[in-house]
Symmetry: D2
Subunit: 365 residues, 4 copies
């Protein structure tokens, strides 16, 4: 299904930025799961623009469960969540001038001018709010099964955060702390530098991207299928659905290029009764299937294309070259906000594969 993803757990997004509402339809959630609105709202809050490093645009992200929820639990039938739109400034956006590196031009070509262009329409980053709602439900289920997900900004321009700790015991508290932090960087000093960099760029009307590193602890073994539903394939499909994500790598990723096999093969050993690997260059995945080690992946978020510096473009009506000066309120960086979207889709992908592998009853056990 074009706007849907998943097999046992299925997610469909709908809505436009300046339409009446946006939302998500979730199928395959077993009956009897309590929804913790505080939990979900916490992650929705991490997605919101805040402070000097964000747009001053206010989005009212009020979770509105329309169906599939009764007496405090999921019913087992389709769960529909709406977010009503408000505080929209249509005049900021409408333009025949195609914004560079946005979907304006491609959407116009694909939908022959019929798309809702206001504020990016269906292509707006705002659609990630319902995605975070769905993902937070999945993440909550996984946490009860001992599976913890967390992400930090590993790199923003030349500024690098410290790496994730190797010890899983230490790592779990790092992930938990990150999940409480709006700007998710482990090293306090680096965090400050990154935020200052964003503020500086904001002053010049410019923007930046960054690299996110995600870790999943407590993964069961055997999750993922050979070939087309490999753990990498399932997660990458979800991750590349997030606007602005332009790269995904697992474990060593592109660094694998620089090493010999003898340097980066992950030797197995018995840690008491448990099979582990001495290193984890493969990011917890062998042959597309989880091996029980922490899942490691990185994603790159490109610089926000909405900058306030004048840019060259075309006028779609006149088919002539022109320039564009984007107005309105836009984020100089979204990498810190994208972090919770990454966590959300990772949770959705893992839960879907787990339900396929272990059956729906596993969820509530």
């Amino acid at each position: 299904m074009k706007s849907s993803i998943g097999e046992a757990l299925q997610i469909s997004l709908f809505g436009e930025s300046h339409g009446e509402a946006i939302g998500v339809l979730i199928n395959g959630l077993p009956a009897g799961i309590p929804l913790d609105e505080n939990y979900i709202n916490h992650f929705l809050d991490l997605r919101k623009p805040k402070g000097k490093i964000s747009t001053s645009r206010k989005e009212r992200d009020e979770l509105h469960v329309v169906s599939g929820y009764f007496n405090g639990h999921t019913t087992g039938t389709p769960l529909c969540i709406l977010f009503e739109n408000s505080n929209t400034h249509s005049k900021d956006y409408h333009n025949d001038k195609m914004r560079p590196s946005h979907a304006d031009y491609t959407a116009n070509e694909k939908y022959r001018g019929y798309q809702d262009y206001r504020g990016g329409g269906h292509f707006s980053g705002r659609l990630t709010a319902p995605l975070v709602a769905a993902g937070s439900i999945a993440r909550h289920i996984l946490e009860k099964k001992g599976i913890v997900i967390g992400t930090h900004i590993a790199k923003l321009q030349e500024l690098q955060d410290i790496p994730f700790p190797e010890s899983e015991d230490v790592a779990v508290s790092v992930l938990q702390e990150l999940n409480q932090t709006y700007f998710p960087v482990c090293d306090v000093e680096v965090s400050k530098q990154m935020q200052e960099r964003i503020e500086t760029l904001a002053k010049t009307g410019d923007s930046t991207g960054g690299i996110l590193e995600t870790m999943v602890l407590g993964m069961p073994t055997g999750v993922g299928e050979p070939f087309f539903s490999s753990l990498e394939s399932v997660l990458a499909k979800l991750l590349f659905s997030i606007p602005a994500i332009k790269g995904v790598e697992f474990g060593l990723g592109f660094e694998f290029c620089n090493f010999n096999g003898s340097e980066v093969n992950d030797a197995f050993y018995m840690d008491q009764e448990t099979v582990k690997t001495k290193t984890n260059y493969n990011g917890g995945i062998n042959g597309g299937i989880s091996n029980g080690m922490p899942l490691h992946l990185k994603t790159v978020v490109k610089p926000t294309p909405s900058i306030f510096i004048e840019q060259e473009t075309i006028d779609y009506q006149t088919k002539e070259n022109t320039t564009i000066q984007i107005e309105g309120r836009h984020d100089p960086a979204i990498v810190h906000r994208a972090r919770v979207v990454v966590d959300s889709v990772v949770a959705i992908g893992i839960l879907d594969l787990c339900i396929q592998q272990f059956g729906p009853a596993w969820v509530g056990e």
Copy 2:
């Protein structure tokens, strides 16, 4: 479908390395397409191990069309292609010692010991032969529509090939030449160095990976869907299905991290009647949809995990730590062979999205 991928064009793989046969089932190919066996065999040949840089194992990759093909054309009903297995040396492979960074352990966990472990079974790279067959059929259709795909080894350890030319006119002949070359590197001197490096590693029983850069010329605009079936999502899911691929990036990819938005936004301009972008940092995709510029993507192939240097591992039966000395015949590098698999899945993904967008009749127009 777990072992299948695609919407309008669907591909299902089956078979095990040392079973009777492996194969692919293709659904959604319109009727009336002539299959050019020479064309398909050419790409199957590029996938085969050859020379000192490969295993000496010989695979008989004879295309065997079982169904869906009549009087020299596709019938419109399911096309099944088999490759019979032969020349298998089962004794080389069977081992309770889990080979590091292979699927031995995870498959055993997932399938509870029932998997066909001989030669990697269903996880064998040999399964990419039917994938190349399917992909070559797709690629042939795309070529008739003016869509040309090609890949070179951009980097192998520290050795770097020259970049793809910026001019599309020059690029097209570069791609065509690469498609005729077994070891796909543009710079002759670099090609020699890379091959020598592989030979050197082979002598020490070690292996290497590499980075592949792929370009698609002649892409129509409007291909790809918002969110879950974005062009990046669809291609990444296919690319991560290829064993050994651990990273995928589009356009600038992870390099986006190092730039300001003002430096990497792709300005639009009119080139006569055609909308183009002055740069192509987004790799031909905006908002998940093709913008008509060349598609650019990179994938990383990890070093072949089958090395001949002794490695630490466990014995699955005794659950004790031990060492393993892999025997048999294995490739010191597969990056040059993986290239044609990358091209193949890219062709499959693009053709699927094009049929969805333009209808099945587009194929034969």
Copy 3:
């Protein structure tokens, strides 16, 4: 997808009878289609209970388009339609006593007591309102392509309507008239008798079902796939989704049992330039594919299970035998209202197959 159906055109239902809203998510509608609210409301109106032959319950079926619609046309992105619930009388319904032949018991078993039981919850016939909305959009598109759908009550208990006319020219006006008629029976006298029968049954608190006969004129040839997506398979899956439908047959259907092959084979002949069949016992389908003749199918609607006569049942809490006296407002017959739901799903199925066969551009041609 569990609550979805379709390939190129996809429909997902959600909501519960006494929840906040019910709705439908439609994917795959091409951009640029004008929605005619009057047209849709007309068919929603035919679905509503009216007069003495129906419940006195009033449902406010106000079409509320949430997404995918802009400036009077579809945008090409997901179309979400909501119907807010109102005028609900929860107290009429809640009961531990399982209503015979309803989904109370099976839903309770499946969802372990977490289902929204009020008014049938997700199993309510009310969910057919969004289905009619989606179907009417599909039907409108088909009509513009010359494909006309219509249904009459062929039989209600022993009362039989006259058969559809054989001439396609006459039939088209019969279908059009039926589509304007609330109680869809061709013979005025039979119509009166059927309605009187329903009124009589209503007085005794009883109910009735009936047989619907549907005809589709203007079908293109070549629609439907061999085996699992045969025209019969696709339509039957949709038709059996409608609550109360317990049988589906095409052409002669179960009557085929009584004839020799020589009596019921449909001989081909040339009618000018067009291939036709002299008879149409196969209902316009050969080998699962439309042959250009009118599509003929019949469905049976079982008697409404909500009757006011005391019935034996169990108390789910005490697990004891007891009796139930259903209260509230219920229809003594829904066969006339189900008619428009049948037409709707037939339209959805045909449009989906046509988009697959002819491409999305066919819709707007």
Copy 4:
């Protein structure tokens, strides 16, 4: 997927009657299931033409497992089964004269003349052999879970078999006996009459159809989804995939038309600890979900369209009216052979829904 069906358990058919081989690809079978070839061959044998009531054509239906099977058990990866074709008489079939009520004309329209027309090609009833193979694997799994499926010819022209017994204890042995019988009729005398009727028709070159009644004992409650994956929807989609099936009904089916609700509602009662219904007019399904009572369904098989009496038709090349005299060897009835195909697809549908509901581990428990 066009030629596939199923969610957790997926079946894809391929091949043509006179091509090299036909086959089925099965995905989603858990690892560790032993395949009993005798069991499967027994049902393949019931599908074969035999005696005077069948064609004299001999089909070699040798099960050939190509993949997914190792050391006597399923591996958990795709299971591919081939049946090689042999003893084909191409000259019997090739004809520009479109055989009435066959797929010759519609396939030609759909595939623009590229279809393999020999012996019906992909539309041949021969494709049901792999379907029976897949279904028998599913049926074997279900039997181990206490779910028994059986079918008899309820009616052939005016000849009627005795109904299934009401007692489940008696019914189970009736089903088991039917599953051992080539011509599946309960009443010996009626069986003889039906076979004589077929022989008589065979002598005049004519054919007959019949009505099959199927019962499934031991159904767990809670299987099936609301709306589009209702038990009726899932089974009907599969059943209408079988060539020659033109009607499907559950429980009372079309007879529901003749009764009041008070007469055909199924009253619940406690039978010790078990919830049962006093009658079973709904065929074991309420709201699309199994209620634990026996599943009851009927299908109608139309008369074999291949008759030896001269028929009117067109010549596709000349577009002129003509007559056709079908030659070769054809069945005067296939209703007895279709029986095992019906059982097979019912088994596939139920197993798929059970795996979705109870998880893959349920299979091997």
